[in-house]
Amino acid sequence: MADDHHGPTVRIYLAVFASLMFLTALTVWVAFQDLGMFNDVVALGIACTKATIVILFFMHVKYASRLTWLLAGAGILFLLILFAFAMADYVSRGWLGMPASHYLQ
């Protein structure tokens, strides 16, 4: 378990911090630009980038064992399963053109 001692240095922490701040500013700025539907995409993209940075460096996953990667990955994978399969229902309602599929009110 030598990885504890090869954790990130203070310099890396500061760099990570700076990029997080930059991305926060960016996401606020972008929100006020009219990009049509891309506003959402960009906002989520930035949020994911920030989260990845935090996970990799602040949470040391970059320096951790394969098992930690696996665990973090499993959590995210099953989250996506939840999203994807639930959305699958909502998106495909109405493909058959039947009223049952329409939302009301």
Binding site: L67, A74, G75, F78, I81, L82, F85, A86, A88, D89, Y90, V91, S92, R93, G94, W95, L96, A100, S101, Y103, L104, Q105
Partner: protein, 543 residues
């Protein structure tokens, strides 16, 4: 043999101090961090809830003896079956094997002194107890009448019963099972004894590993779902309220995201028990070890992709239904693999006719029927007719009661000598297995026919033509109740009067049989070093 000098109680062949006599008094039990003692605490508490759930089941069967609602009012009946379901699922079946036998055996089987987090293990029991108390308050304070599925908007707006308390209780029970699962995952990963590689682990451990995956990944979603429900009901927030444009069907998605995988929490552990018992009964290595091991993991993972099969008629989109249906068919395949491998294990074995064998055979028969009837339900065209009828009720009792409860009882018999250090009379064990098997079929087989004829579930009164089959089912239930009472009696008797158990009464393989009965506090006198595969009953031939 480094054992404390005090407490020496003379006995020649067994070490004097074991986990049971190492400290007496309530406090030494209630503050214990020993996984074996916590397992015993769990056994006692889940037995109480089983009796309570069984009592409600008996009330259900009494009421259904006649088509009219003569024994109780509709409201009472609705509460009775709801509490039967809630108690049986959340307070009995989910913790049944993992928190008891699993808690006792997983550390021993991997050759560890305890679980990775003994304090969290104890915490999980306390959380369970608090949940149980909340649940009991909900029952005593008027009950809950939503069914165990808590469907909105009935549960969030219309029901007049203690939904919030019951949901809170289920929420906490879920939390306790998360803690158990977390402990297992970490223990299996980091605390295996030297030489205990993944492919030397007993299949019981594999199946508990798979169970823990589901506990970790699924349970939080039911937790949040119940939180949403409580917020909606308690504060008037809207998440599923159709008046706000919310979708009641979304609740079902979230609910089944956990509750389908949860049914595998309720069967995988007993599959693990079966693998151990089949090997011991036939004195043979489990056929296709790797396939049985991986099929557990496959069930755990695929099990997350099929929840929509509970929603075929809920107005879920047809295409989503198709995806859920096809994956449901595929998730049946790993169960098939297991079944066939157990069968093949018996082939050319050395089969002993003892209690374990009776339970193994009973389990196989009932699980087969339960699992195969799942195929009827996963067929979209047929589920339209069968959904929410007694066919479904029969299906899940065959698997949950015929499968997991049978496995739980079988496992309790199999490891009883290890847990208590006492032997039970073999003939009694056989009789109880037979009683349960017969009573069970008598109770639930008629329900398949009822279901196909169209009798809806959760019905307090029903048309007259269904009566004969219902009476048959109720009669069977009394036989079944007897089948459950009998082991309670002679197992309790054996604790006080039973003969002392040898370390390995069945001549079985596994680390748990190499330590004493009952095991010492830290399981082994010395950390074992593993040099052979699981189930090395003899030299293994490769094919």
């Amino acid at each position: 043999m480094a054992i404390t000098e005090q407490d020496v109680q003379a006995s020649e062949d067994a070490p004097s101090v074991n986990y049971l006599n190492n400290g007496y008094g309530l406090k030494s039990w209630l503050l214990t961090k020993d996984h074996k003692r916590i397992a015993v605490l769990y056994i006692i508490s889940i037995s109480i809830f089983f009796a309570l759930g069984g009592l409600f089941a008996s009330l259900v069967r009494f009421e259904l003896m006649t088509p009219e609602g003569d024994l109780m009012s509709s409201d009472t009946y609705n509460k009775v079956f709801s509490m039967h379901g809630i108690i049986m699922v959340f307070f009995f079946l989910v913790p049944s094997i993992p928190a008891t036998i699993g808690n006792f055996l997983v550390p021993i089987m991997v050759g560890a002194k305890d679980l990775a987090f003994p304090r969290i293990n104890l915490l999980s029991w306390y959380v369970y107890v608090v949940a149980g108390i909340l649940g009991t308050i909900a029952v005593v304070g008027g009950g809950v009448d939503t069914g165990w599925t808590f469907y909105t908007p009935y549960s969030s707006t219309y029901s007049n019963s203690n939904v919030i308390l019951a949901a809170m209780a289920a929420f906490m029970a879920g939390f306790s099972s998360i803690l158990t699962g977390l402990n297992f995952v970490v223990t299996i990963h980091t605390m295996r004894a030297p030489g205990m590689t993944w492919f030397r682990l007993p299949l019981f451990v594999w199946s508990h590993y798979a169970t823990s995956i589901i506990m970790l990944l699924g349970t939080p979603v039911i937790a949040i779902t119940l939180v949403l429900l409580m917020l909606e009901r308690g504060f008037g927030f809207g998440f599923f309220d159709p008046n706000l444009g919310g979708d009641p069907v979304l609740f079902q998605h979230l609910f089944w995201f956990y509750s389908h995988p949860a049914v595998y929490i309720m069967i995988l552990p007993s599959m693990g028990v079966m693998s151990e018992m089949v090997a011991a009964v036939a004195r043979k290595r489990v056929f296709g070890y790797e396939f049985v091991a991986f099929s557990s993991v496959a069930i755990a993972i695929l099990g997350f992709l099929v929840w929509g099969h509970h929603m075929f008629v809920s107005s879920q989109s047809t295409y989503a239904g198709m995806v859920f249906s096809i994956i449901t068919f595929l998730v049946a395949v790993p169960s098939a693999i297991k079944t066939f491998n157990w069968t093949a294990t018996l082939y050319k074995g050395s089969i002993v006719y003892d209690t374990s064998m009776f339970y193994v055979y009973g389990y196989l028969g009932l699980f087969l029927v339960g699992g195969l009837t799942g195929l009827f339900l996963s067929s979209m065209g047929l589920d339209i007719h069968l959904h929410d009828t007694y066919f479904v009720v029969a299906h899940f009792h065959y698997i949950m009661v015929g499968g997991q409860v049978m496995g739980y009882l079988g496992g309790m018999h199999f490891w009883w000598p290890k847990i208590t250090g006492k032997m039970f009379p073999d003939i009694c064990g056989k009789i109880s297995a037979l009683l349960v098997f017969l009573g069970f079929n008598f109770t639930f087989f008629p329900q398949f026919i009822l279901g196909y004829m169209g009798m809806p579930r959760r019905y307090h009164v029903y048309p007259e033509e269904f009566q004969i089959l219902n009476v048959a089912s109720s009669l069977g239930a009394s036989l079944l109740a007897l089948g459950y009472l009998v082991p309670g009696v002679y197992l309790t008797w054996s604790i006080f009067k039973g003969p002392k158990a040898p370390d390995n009464p069945w001549g079985a393989k596994g680390l748990e049989w190499e330590t004493t009965s009952p095991p010492p506090t830290f399981n082994f006198e010395e950390t074992p070093v593993v040099t052979e595969e699981a189930y090395q009953y003899g030299q293994i031939e490769e094919h």
